[in-house]
Structure formats: structure tokens, C-alpha cells
């Protein structure tokens, strides 16, 4: 079964009715890593938000199915419990709530939903310890309040840590590379790579090709003005890097969606 199947998805901003997504088609099968690239304002983050159920958007047409379920009919927390994880572009601070406590609450909420027994403090700490090594996270950060006073790199590593602990079926990484220096990027990417296991699907959203030097995608899609205008393999990213987004925007979109369809099959 397809992990994620998006068909002709149109979405607008709730407040002003402005249409951002203008007919997205995309299929992600288990184990596949898809990169989604595109210029600023093309709708990359909006797609991540609509898929994860962030309020503020209205889907006007089309569908999104996750493991056969009607994703768009589910509240955000149900999507998370079913296995969709969003690594935030701008992780949020929650003062006074320890990182460890937050994560344990989340893990046990998800486990409960899956019919698994909740983890006690000792078992959870063992799991956390193991996963923290993946992203080279210091213990002091685990005891601090969620993201409070974290550097940009620490926040992004914390997102990857949460992803590792929550063990999602589909991970959406929204510009995880933005604001990171090269060392932080390497650490975050190696954490992500460690989670590639042939079953988990990933949608890696990025503006720049450099992240894809570390996370090698199976497919690359280019988003422009709310539509996927070109799809290909990892070489497409390199070609984009060389020629710039204006190269894609000149191409007629009909060809592009044919390629996207081929890639999906």
C-alpha cells in the first residue's frame, strides 16, 4: 500500500482565501525518500502544514490518503498518533516544560493510541539515551525546557531526536537545513540517515541542494507556484543547483506532471 497518496490537492489560506497549492499530485511508498525543492513562496511549507493538519488552511479540492486513510479528515493529533511527524522549520519554545517530560508525554500518548503499554521513566530514559547519541545531543539539553534558549542547531537536532524517539511512518522535514552551519547540518543529516530503514517514508523539504549531499533522495520534485513542475532523481537537484529555479519555471508544466506521474509509479 502507498504510504502517502496526494491527488490534485488545492489549498488556500483560511483568512484571505489566497490559493497556495494549485493541484499537487505525489505518491510516497514505504522506504522512499522524496526531496521537495522550490523557490521561496512556491508552497513547500504550506504542503507540510496541510499534510500535518495545521489550522489556518482550507483544502478546496483533491485528497490526501495516508495508508489508505483520509488524512484531511483527521485532526492534527490523530495524524501524529497514526505516524506522521513534522520536523518544524521554526521549533517552538515551551517554557517550564522539560524536554524529557514533553517527549515522554508525547511517546506515551502515541503508544497508548497504538495499543502499546506506556513506557515508565526508566525504560523511557534508556530509549532517550540511545536516540540522543544519534544526534549528539548533550544531556543538559534534555533537562532544559523545550527549545528554550537553544541555538538554531540545537533546535533542529532536537527535532530529529523527537523524530527518532517517536518512530513515525512518514517524516516531513521542513527546511531542517535552514539556519544551520555545515557541522550542525552534518549532525542533523546523519541523524536522519540513521532513521532510513526501508519502511519509513520521508519528505525532505529544502530550498538548497546542499542538504541533499547528505541525505540522498530517491526522488526530487520541484514545486513552483503551487504545482510540482518537474520530478526526477537525485541528479535533478544538481541540475537545479547549476541552472537555478528560473530554468524550471520556463518549462511547460504539462511535461513536468507526466514525469511526476512516472516517478510515482
Amino acid at each position: 500500500m502507498n504510504l502517502l497518496e496526494i491527488t490534485n490537492l488545492h489549498a488556500s489560506i483560511e483568512e484571505d482565501g489566497h490559493e497556495i497549492l494549485k493541484g499537487i499530485d505525489l505518491v510516497i511508498r514505504p522506504g522512499e525518500v522524496h526531496a521537495l525543492m522550490g523557490p521561496n513562496g512556491s508552497g513547500k511549507s504550506t504542503l507540510a502544514h496541510v499534510l500535518s493538519g495545521r489550522p489556518g488552511y482550507v483544502v478546496t479540492q483533491g485528497s490526501a490518503r495516508f495508508l489508505g486513510m483520509d488524512l484531511l479528515a483527521m485532526p492534527a493529533e490523530m495524524r501524529a498518533r497514526e505516524g506522521i511527524f513534522l520536523a518544524f522549520q521554526y521549533p517552538v519554545e515551551i517554557p517550564g516544560v522539560s524536554n524529557t517530560y514533553f517527549l515522554r508525554t508525547a511517546v506515551n500518548t502515541v503508544r497508548k493510541h497504538r495499543g502499546q503499554p506506556e513506557l515508565d521513566a526508566i525504560d523511557f530514559l534508556a530509549l532517550l539515551d540511545e536516540k540522543a547519541k544519534l544526534v549528539e545531543m548533550e544531556e543538559t539539553l534534555l533537562n532544559r525546557s523545550v527549545n528554550e534558549g537553544f541555538s538554531g542547531g540545537e533546535k533542529k537536532r532536537n527535532e530529529v531526536l523527537q523524530m527518532a524517539v517517536l518512530d513515525p511512518k512518514l517524516a516531513i522535514l521542513d527546511e531542517t537545513d535552514s539556519g544551520l552551519d555545515i557541522d550542525a547540518l552534518r549532525v542533523a543529516a546523519s541523524g536522519v540517515n540513521a532513521l532510513r530503514d526501508g519502511a519509513r517514508g520521508m519528505l525532505v523539504i529544502t530550498h538548497y541542494q546542499r542538504l541533499l549531499d547528505y541525505i540522498i533522495p530517491d526522488f526530487v520534485h520541484v514545486l513552483s507556484d503551487g504545482k510540482i513542475v518537474k520530478s526526477g532523481d537525485k541528479n535533478l537537484a544538481k541540475e537545479l543547483e547549476a541552472k537555478g529555479y528560473s530554468w524550471i519555471e520556463k518549462e511547460p508544466p504539462a511535461t513536468a506532471s507526466a514525469v511526476a506521474g512516472a516517478a510515482a509509479r
Partner: protein, 481 residues
């Protein structure tokens, strides 16, 4: 806020809103010198106490209700309030032991989660249970008496320890202090009395559980805690009331006295009925609480979690008289629906090298209005006084309000004062972040609020911190759709 998530405001039912059917001795509504005499007579009080009450009553007649607080409510008709109501069984005086307490009363407290059967208590908390106007039971009295601690109802203290009561009653909050304190002094019916003798560290938490049951009744209790030289005590009060459409008045007075090196930690979890979603009904909570650090190096700390009441008007304060004495005020005040709270503290530095800490966390949801009002006064001789104040406000939704009025008066140039304040809003971003990790919207709000209030909650005795955390969650339940 744009999102629909925070717009829909509903509320979980107040869990303590039931009425217990007990045979109650109620005097007619209204207030006069005769009523004051009747109350005193019902309690079989000595002449000096009646005189004290009458003096307070006559002074009260000359006073006007304070209007400076940032709360609005229709005028209170003091002639429509019942000033004395007591469960019939305790008409002849408080029961001698738990065996004499009416089974309906025991069942009521059990339903409220207040344990009165000593053998069932694991944590070792001594409880004085006050319903309407009287104390119905006090636990662990004998055990406490064995180390010299007196813990009993106020009425019993008047009978058994008149010299102590006479010495300290009104010594911190004079009967003429303010409108509501004067009213309380005239008609107070019962409350708790606690005396920790020199050098004794109280072996268990002491607590009073206040319950209003009767309709149209005001509750006017007094609590007096005295800690002699080097004594240490931790005290907790809890409050609930049935759901009613009418507003009920609660005007209490609490006085604390700490002598040299003594420590009093006073914690409150106030959960009076807050009124319904439209703001109908609820308790008017007008309370005067003040502690006097009379001795050198004495300490008094107030910790309060205020989630109930339609209106809260209270300012637990410290008079830092003894050199080196320390005062603290830790507060979480939560207003949801149409609740209004105007609360804070006064720290009055008189002695040298006195220190005070104020941490106030206000949470507003629905149409709630939350005001912090505090004063730090450094008197002329308070060399080296220090104060640290922190006032934070958290807003949930866009219909509520948070207001901060810090007053500072410094008459000694060697003083050090720090003040920090912040206002934040539970944003769509925080909520969505939590929900994306699998938490429901309500669990997310509860988590964020508890994180916000953490610095205060950790000041509560362990047994009650967990309860307070749950209470914050329950009080906000339904504040996000």
C-alpha cells in the same frame, strides 16, 4: 487570535458543585448589633470577645466598601446575607471526636476527597474541617498535643486557650484594618487556630478544609497561626462550594505571627465555585491575609493557587519587622469564563537586612480578567533590604485581560529592588507543536500552563502540588475547542 481552536470556550462542570442535605441551624438574614450578640451567644463566648466584635461592628458601620480593585460586581446587600449557619448536630458545640461527627458530613468530605478518618491517611496530614460557620472535625489533635502543638477550631481555642487568643487576635490584622476585615471581625464564626511552641518543628502538614454548603450564607472564618521561637510549620487550606445561581460572600481573615527564627509556610488551593460559563453565580472571595515576621530571622511564605471564585480580592502580605526576616509570595491565579481576580501582595520592610521575593503568575482565558497588584515598601530604617519581584501573565484567547500594578515605595537608599514582568500568549504555534507530537489540544494547554506556573507549583507541599497541577488542567478544560 485567528484560529477557531481558541475561540470556542466551553467549560467542564465544576466537580464540587453538589449540595449536601444536612439539618442546619440558620439564623435569619441581616446584620445588626443583635446579630453580632446572637453569634457570640451561640458560641458561648466570653465578654471580652463580644466587646471586640461590637467594636469592630461599630467601626465597620463607618466604613465604605473599597472600590479601587479592578473588579466589577453589583452592589452587595449586606442585609440579605445569613451570618450564621451550622450543622444541627454541632449546635451544642463542636463534636468531641470523629465518632460524634454526623455520617452525612463524613460522606460529604469523602466525596470532596478530604480524608477525616485518621487511619486512612497515609501522608500524615492533620485536617480541620469547617462547614459553613463551624468547625466539624479536627484530626490528629492528640498526636500534635503530645509535642505541645495546639491545632483546633477557633471556637475551641477561645474556650481552652483564651490567653493566647487574646494576645494575638487582631495583632496582625486589626479589626479596623479594612472594610472586609472589620466585617469579619464582627461576625466571624469559626476557623482554625494553630500554636507551635518554642523550638518545635511540626511533624506533619496542617490543613483546614473550608466548605460552604448552605444557600445565602456568607462564610467568615478566621485563622490564627503562631510560631514561637525556632518553631516550624507548614499549613494548607482548601476551599469548595456548591453550584448556585446567586453569589455568595466569603470574607476571611488569616493572621500569622512568626517569632525569632520561626518559619511559617502557608499554602492555599482556592477552588470556590467560580460561576457558570455566562458568569452567573460564584463566590465573592474578599480575603485579608497577613503575616508578621515579628522576630529576628523569621520567615513567612505564602503560596497560593487561585482557580475558583467569581471574584477574588486578596493580597497575602508580610510585615518584615524582625531584622533579617524573609517574606515570600508565590501565586498562580487563573481566571476563565467571566471570573475576575485582583490579587497580589504587600511586602513591608521595616527591619534591617530584610528580604522578600514575589513570583506572580496570572493565567487568563475566556473573558477572564486577571490583575496583579503589589506593593513593596522599604521603610526608613530598613538598611540593606532586598526585594525581587517577577510578574508574568499568560493569555489564552483574545477576549481575556491581564493587568499589572506594581507599587514601589523606598525610603532607604541602601535597598535593592528588582522587578521583572512579561506577558505572553498561548499561541497557535505552541498548541500546534504539541498536537503534532500527538497531544490533544486540552492536554497541550494543560502542559503549557503547568510549565508557565512551575516555579510557583514547586513551592507547594509535595502532596498538594500534584492536585494543584490537575486543578489547573481541569479549570481550563474546554477553554480550547
Amino acid at each position: 487570535m485567528s484560529d477557531a481552536v481558541l475561540d470556542t470556550l466551553t467549560r467542564q462542570e465544576y466537580p464540587h458543585g453538589f449540595v449536601t442535605d444536612i439539618d442546619t441551624d440558620v439564623i435569619p438574614a441581616g446584620l445588626s448589633e443583635d446579630v453580632v450578640r446572637l453569634i457570640s451567644n451561640k458560641k458561648g463566648e466570653p465578654e471580652w470577645l463580644l466587646d471586640w466584635r461590637l467594636k469592630a461592628y461599630r467601626h465597620w458601620l463607618t466604613m465604605v466598601e473599597p472600590k479601587w480593585a479592578r473588579v466589577t460586581y453589583p452592589p452587595i446587600d449586606y442585609q440579605k446575607i445569613v451570618y450564621y449557619a451550622a450543622p444541627r448536630s454541632s449546635k451544642e458545640g463542636a463534636p468531641k471526636s470523629l465518632a460524634d461527627v454526623e455520617p452525612e458530613l463524613l460522606a460529604m468530605y469523602e466525596k470532596l476527597g478530604v480524608p477525616l478518618k485518621e487511619r486512612e491517611i497515609l501522608a500524615g496530614v492533620a485536617v480541620d474541617a469547617v462547614i459553613d460557620s463551624v468547625s466539624v472535625a479536627t484530626t490528629f489533635k492528640e498526636k500534635l498535643a503530645s509535642v505541645g502543638i495546639i491545632f483546633c477550631s477557633f471556637s475551641e481555642a477561645v474556650r481552652e486557650h483564651p490567653d493566647l487568643v487574646k494576645k494575638y487576635l487582631g495583632s496582625v490584622v486589626p479589626s479596623s484594618d479594612n472594610f472586609f476585615a472589620a466585617l469579619n471581625s464582627a461576625v466571624f464564626s469559626d476557623g482554625s487556630f494553630c500554636f507551635i511552641p518554642k523550638g518545635v518543628r511540626c511533624p506533619m502538614e496542617l490543613s483546614t478544609y473550608f466548605r460552604i454548603n448552605q444557600a445565602d450564607t456568607g462564610q467568615f472564618e478566621r485563622t490564627l497561626i503562631v510560631a514561637e521561637q525556632g518553631a516550624v510549620v507548614s499549613y494548607l487550606e482548601g476551599c469548595t462550594a456548591p453550584k448556585r445561581d446567586t453569589n455568595q460572600l466569603h470574607a476571611a481573615v488569616v493572621e500569622l505571627v512568626a517569632l525569632d527564627d520561626a518559619q511559617i509556610k502557608y499554602s492555599t488551593v482556592q477552588n470556590w465555585y467560580p460561576g457558570d460559563r455566562e458568569g452567573k453565580g460564584g463566590i465573592y472571595n474578599f480575603v485579608t491575609k497577613r503575616g508578621k515576621c515579628a522576630g529576628r530571622n523569621s520567615r513567612i511564605s505564602w503560596t497560593q493557587v487561585e482557580t475558583g471564585s467569581a471574584i477574588t480580592w486578596k493580597y497575602p502580605s508580610c510585615i518584615l519587622l524582625g531584622d533579617g526576616s524573609v517574606g515570600a509570595f508565590y501565586s498562580v491565579a487563573l481566571t476563565n469564563n467571566y471570573q475576575q481576580a485582583d490579587t497580589g501582595t504587600k511586602m513591608i520592610h521595616i527591619g534591617k537586612n530584610t528580604r522578600s521575593t514575589i513570583v506572580s503568575k496570572g493565567i487568563s482565558a475566556g473573558h477572564g480578567q486577571n490583575t496583579y497588584r503589589g506593593a513593596v515598601t522599604i521603610m526608613k530604617n530598613a538598611e540593606g533590604a532586598r526585594n525581587y519581584s517577577q510578574c508574568d501573565s499568560l493569555l489564552i484567547g483574545d477576549q481575556c485581560g491581564a493587568h499589572t500594578f506594581p507599587y514601589i515605595e523606598v525610603k532607604n537608599s541602601s535597598a535593592t529592588l528588582e522587578h521583572e514582568a512579561s506577558t505572553s500568549k498561548i499561541g497557535e504555534d505552541q498548541l500546534f507543536y504539541c498536537r503534532q507530537r500527538g497531544l490533544s489540544a486540552e492536554d497541550a494547554v494543560s502542559l503549557i500552563v503547568n510549565g508557565f506556573a512551575k516555579r510557583v507549583l514547586k513551592e507547594l507541599p509535595m502532596e498538594f502540588a500534584v492536585e494543584a497541577q490537575k486543578l489547573l488542567g481541569v479549570s481550563l478544560e474546554g477553554s480550547v475547542g
